[in-house]
Symmetry: C2
Amino acid sequence: MSTHNFGIAIHGGAGTILKSEMTPEKENNYKAALEKALQAGYDCLENGKTAMEAVEAAIIELENSPLFNAGRGAVFNAKGQHEMDASIMDGKTLHAGAVAAVRNLKNPISLATKVLHHSDHILLMGEGAAEFAKQFEIEFESDEYFFDQYRYDQWQKIKGTDNFQLDHSKKEKKYLGTVGAVALDKDGNLAAGTSTGGMTNKKFGRIGDSALIGLGTYANNKTCAISCTGSGEYLMRAVTAYDVSSRMEYKGLNLKDAVNESIMDRLTEIGGDGGLVAMDKDGNIEMPFNCEGMYRASKNAQQTVVEIYR
Amino acid sequence: MSTHNFGIAIHGGAGTILKSEMTPEKENNYKAALEKALQAGYDCLENGKTAMEAVEAAIIELENSPLFNAGRGAVFNAKGQHEMDASIMDGKTLHAGAVAAVRNLKNPISLATKVLHHSDHILLMGEGAAEFAKQFEIEFESDEYFFDQYRYDQWQKIKGTDNFQLDHSKKEKKYLGTVGAVALDKDGNLAAGTSTGGMTNKKFGRIGDSALIGLGTYANNKTCAISCTGSGEYLMRAVTAYDVSSRMEYKGLNLKDAVNESIMDRLTEIGGDGGLVAMDKDGNIEMPFNCEGMYRASKNAQQTVVEIYR
């Protein structure tokens, strides 16, 4: 084979996605949005671009869709603002970039990529990250761009309370689509990225796993590329992204067994809900989750998958 | 044996600590400060308190000393402010708490502990974290409390430039004492904590490994407790704290071999400088570093160690 078995896998969030609340029209909209993002990433790979470029391209599409909780569709925090986190990692160099609690950025994943390429740091936050962004041609958008009636209504319901979604009550648990992508390019390089608007009504400058290398995002050509979604605090405590890589590197597991142990065993044991998309250096793709559904899609030369439920 | 082989290990930062710049008086001051913190933590353990309490007590002492880059001794960022990060993790429950870019807090480690016990979140940042702090009796201090002529002069030298310390130039590399502690208590529970003022002249809301669970801090009764110090971005890319734990859990290594592989091999391979303090569930203590020195100390029933150089 002249090139590696290139491909891409993306997610738009995991959790309790109730079939009863899903209409055929909604389902089609979600699947169309996933397909568009998938294709954007796959086109990059097919045209010989890097896994890093494919991951960024796919996540930009997901951020630009109002359907997912990232970029345009980011939820409202306790102050009625949209605070977003994103991170990206290059499996070839182990370099990484991430931003936390950034506001009014059209595409947080692109700023994370700028951090990777143009900063000695990995993680920049808040106004400092916005100041860093001004060195580059980065698009900012008004608050109106991020306004969404559905998200607003979600926030109004719990505004002024100590509740937040995703919360820990089983009843009210609604994971809102954090997005992410992993890719393997023709040169055999892996990359992973994640982007989120966090939790509705979140307070106190909370930063979740999506901004954090090793926790929500990890890539290493020696092992795998991982992007997580779900109950962020549990994914953090379990160091989930790097846990998959470690099980491959130190325990000798293949990708399938490694992701199953990390999600089905470890994350479940500590009470966390979630899932991830994963690729290894041979182009194998895994998209496990321990909850009712995960918006997910993957594409390589052999097949295209676009799914929501089990 | 009626109780576990309890003990504590602490650090006050790793890096190029030039012997030529060290006077006997300075050395005595550093050693006295380390001993005071060590004893504060050890007293907790001897009195039957938890590893969590011992770690917090030791780090409070280190934060209260102007000699280390944490709490009172925190360096100046590019705006002349003191922005501090801290994190703590309980090896028994795998619960964790952390704060990033907090200002004017006397003891950031205590706020991280409040996050662990009283928040559904793990990592809170900036003004949001300060707002969270107001729910508790947490001591705030004026800017004067944090003023230090030596730190100020360091900042004046590089203010207005793009340089920061610790930077990547071999000449100018001065690791400023991030502090940390790990402990095993009489009940056999492990805990780890880390606290830092970051880098002189740091910009853009940079968050380093010290605030991040799995990267700078990790504890798990099944394996070990770890607190890292050194070139933060490299420790982050190597997911160093959890890497030690993974090598023990998945590769079956003992603590000594695991820390050596993580620091001497992995961190060194990617060009990072630093070290860590580590304890396992049997009370073994390791304090490896791949640079010229690390302020470090440990104490258990068998021996007390207080050292700076190799």
